[in-house]
Amino acid sequence: MIDYDSRFGLPRPPTSIQPWEHDVAPVSKVLLDVDSGKALKDYGQVASSALFRAAAKCFLFIWAMDIDGAVHVAFEEVLPPETSSGPPLLCGHPRRRRFPAHPAAEKKLGHPTLVSCGNARIAGELFLDECDRKLMWYINVASGRYCRDMQPTPDQCEAVRHYFETMIDETVILDEI
């Protein structure tokens, strides 16, 4: 039986929740399992083609492990602004990093939205980036809300990196910054 507390970290609440993050979840949110792991593997392989490579590098996924040890993954999405006639009609827009928007310009759906603003053990980002001209999978544990004040140990970082590597069935590099 897995001791989730020691292997991945104690469940902890988010240190803050943005007003727009309550009662909303990313449209793309899925459980990381065999099927979604295969989808990520396929995505990484498709993204390696010249046609998709640059676009894939603009986006990233966010992930969080809940109290039961389930890992939830989604594209990092932004919330469209509400209209005068009510809530936004269009949801599920991936946040495009880098150019042209500054992070402050968008209401992103952060890690708390993966776990209904509840507790998570460990959380971070998953993304494709170039390493020696090859597109590789990276993860970090850079959730400001879950992993800043109670930082994961090196063993916990390695455990979660290994978990992603097993599920995606590709090399996954831990981005330690």
């Binding site: 928007a101 992070p103 402050a104 390493c131």
Partner: protein
């Protein structure tokens, strides 16, 4: 604005955007700038922080990571320049002067917190 100035401004804007994304390959580009064009790097950092400082919300950890990375990886002089930038901003022009923990103040305090990490 002449062509060189336009190119320079565009390059600086590109660099500022990289702080917001901050993937490993982008940090390599930033490190190159910190080493070969330190003034451009500092101006880009100032532009990146300025956007946060005037925003309605803040990701403190996003900024703190930038400071930590500068302290650990950039030439030592860059840590001093970034620290001076943050300290100068903190003593001047806070639009919410007198209010604790304004977004403006948190922006520059977050950078200073990151810069306090020891060099690896």
């Amino acid at each position: 604005m002449n062509m060189n100035t336009q190119m320079s401004a565009r390059h600086m804007n590109d660099l500022a955007c990289l702080f917001g994304s901050f993937k490993p390959s982008e940090r390599n580009l930033l490190l190159g700038a910190a080493t070969t064009a330190p003034s451009k790097f500092v101006h880009a950092l100032e532009a990146f922080l300025g956007e946060w400082a005037s925003a309605g919300w803040i990701e403190e950890y996003n900024i703190e990571r930038v400071g930590k990375w500068i302290a650990k990886n950039c030439p030592a002089d860059m840590t001093i320049r970034a620290k001076t930038l943050a300290e100068t901003k903190l003593v001047a022009n806070d639009p919410a002067d007198g209010l604790a923990d304004s977004v403006y103040t948190l922006t520059y305090k977050s950078l200073l917190a990151g810069l306090s990490f020891p060099k690896s």
